[in-house]
């Protein structure tokens, strides 16, 4: 739910986390993010990007350090408050859209927060409008194309009007036109966005700030334009220059 909170929406201090004792997946993460920012999170496979994202929404409550979302500490008793402020768009839209029509799925979040019928209706219409899929409203989820599914999945999160939106590999499996459309739509969304992706070109088009993770630590946190030109830094941590700079 959009609180209109300005300034620090996300505060992470000395965060560390391990699934099993002695094997830290994330070590001493420090990060502050503000309203309206768009942050890319990059790194090679299996270095903890998804774990970090899932920690933010409280799916793993046993961590060390400070983790605050819109002023609420992420812990078991605060979970519903935290989740009102933060939305998660999963990589697999098919699993995110579990109801049979787009409309029902977009309404699911607002309904669960006990909003009135009129308010739910308003939220659904607005969310669909924001991703330009008003025409898909009554469609069966099963029959949507890949691009339509992704946009519907984003709408299911937008209808909750979150301050923070997390997106896990949003550009995966999209054709060039759908990818371009998604970039345009993401630019229009004003909430704080955290986008994980291996598609560095996509990050360049959507994020002004980028964080590079490797081995559970933050290696770089700064302007996207800076890191995307730093071939040594990228290749040292298992990545490659964005296609547009690599001269392939």
């Amino acid at each position: 739910m959009h609180t209109g909170v300005h300034g620090e929406l996300l505060k992470i201090e000395h965060l560390s986390f391990s699934y099993e004792k002695g094997q830290e997946v994330l070590t001493d993460i420090n990060l502050v993010a503000h309203d309206g920012e768009s942050i890319g999170i990059i790194g090679s496979n299996g270095i903890g990007k998804s774990t970090l994202m899932k920690l933010l929404v409280g799916l793993y409550p046993d961590y060390n350090g400070v983790l605050e979302v819109a002023g609420h500490t992420v812990d078991k008793k605060n979970l519903s408050h935290v989740r009102e402020h933060i939305g998660y768009v999963f990589q697999d839209s098919e699993s995110q859209l579990f109801l049979s029509t787009v409309e029902d799925d977009v309404a699911f979040g607002p309904q669960n927060y006990g909003l009135s019928k009129e308010e739910v209706e308003r939220r659904v219409s607005e969310a669909l409008a924001k991703v330009h899929i008003e025409h898909l409203r009554k469609f069966q989820t099963y029959k949507l194309s890949g691009g339509e599914k992704k946009l519907s999945a984003i709408a299911t999160i937008l209808s909750m009007e979150p301050d923070i939106i997390i997106m896990d590999e949003p550009s995966i499996a999209l054709d060039p036109r759908n990818r371009k459309n998604l970039i345009k739509i993401l630019r229009e969304i004003s909430s704080l966005k955290l986008i994980t992706s291996h598609d560095l070109d996509f990050i360049m088009d959507t994020c002004e700030r980028t964080i590079l993770l490797d081995d559970g630590r933050i290696i770089f946190d700064g302007p996207t334009s800076e890191i995307m030109h730093d071939e040594k830094l990228l290749t040292d941590h298992g990545l490659e220059l964005p296609l547009r700079f690599s001269g392939v």
Binding site: K54, V57, L59, S80, R83, E84, G87, Y88, F90, D92, E94, S95, Q96, F98, L99, S100, T101, D104, A107, F108, G109, Q111, N112, Y113, K138, Q140, T141, Y142, K143, T156, I157, M160
Partner: protein, 258 residues
């Protein structure tokens, strides 16, 4: 087309029918479910020699298919899954039951011939009436009807999820079996050596998917319930249901005079 594709195709056709704009689609789901069940109940309650009232009961599927603009061929095609057992059960009736119950000119109709015919008609009509129900009522609407008769929500939600993911899983099954066949062109199915790994890995992937579905529900405030679209009962709903119920009753009670 293989059998998986055929099933997915059929699912697709039914979903298209459910989304048509037709006045029968707009009828209250509870009324249609009730009619479907009462119709089948009435048809199967007739005795094995009661051909006349069973033939009379054809008026409901006739109405459903003509007025509902459904394909009669599709309806018959849906007989294929239950037909083997019905045939097995009924086909020998003429041999066991040879008493003549009816003479039409020189033709002697035995009890067995009659009971086989009524059995086939019963099977046929019940499949047709179920088709009329599902072609005009979405699973979501049927789930709403189930909720109104107090079927526990865990069962109803599971039905909604099975329906939602059947298409997704069916496509996966199609990809898996196609990928398998392309590399094992001389087998007509999956070799026993691959039974465990092929299905097992798919099962583990499905469990992972279930996990994501759960997380996605949780992050949107899931508290153990789904919301259903409430539907008001209109005058048309009551008239429609009452008309058919009276007609079924008339056939059931009037059959003594036929």
């Amino acid at each position: 087309m293989n059998s998986i594709e055929r099933n997915l195709n059929e699912l697709n056709k039914i979903q298209n029918l459910q989304q048509r704009s037709h006045w029968m689609n707009d009828l209250h789901p509870m009324g249609k479910l009730l009619l479907g069940v009462v119709y089948i109940l009435t048809v199967v309650s007739f005795g094995k020699y009661e051909l006349v009232p069973i033939i009379m009961m054809a008026v409901y599927p006739i109405f459903g298919f003509i007025v509902g603009e459904l394909s009669f061929r599709e309806g018959i095609y849906r007989m294929r899954l239950i037909l083997p057992l019905i045939l097995f059960v009924g086909i020998l009736n003429p041999f066991f039951d040879r008493d003549v119950v009816l003479r039409i000119g020189n033709l002697s109709v035995t009890g067995g011939m009659l009971s086989m015919l009524t059995l086939m008609l019963k099977g046929f009509f019940s499949v047709l009436s179920a088709y009329i129900l599902i072609a005009t009522t979405s699973i979501d609407d049927i789930c709403y009807a189930l909720r109104t008769i107090h079927i526990p929500k865990v069962i109803v939600i599971v039905i909604m999820l099975i329906y939602r993911y059947f298409g997704v899983m069916g496509n996966e099954a199609d990809r898996i079996s196609t990928a398998y066949r392309l590399r094992a062109p001389r087998q007509n199915g999956i070799n026993y050596k691959a039974w465990g790994t092929l299905v097992g890995q798919w099962l583990l992937r499905s469990m992972d998917r279930a996990n994501i579905v759960y997380e996605s529900m949780l992050l949107r405030g899931f508290k153990g319930d789904f919301f259903v679209h409430k539907k008001g009962v209109r005058k048309t709903d009551i008239i429609y249901v009452a008309f058919w119920l009276l007609l079924f009753a008339a056939i059931a009670f009037g059959r003594r005079f036929m």
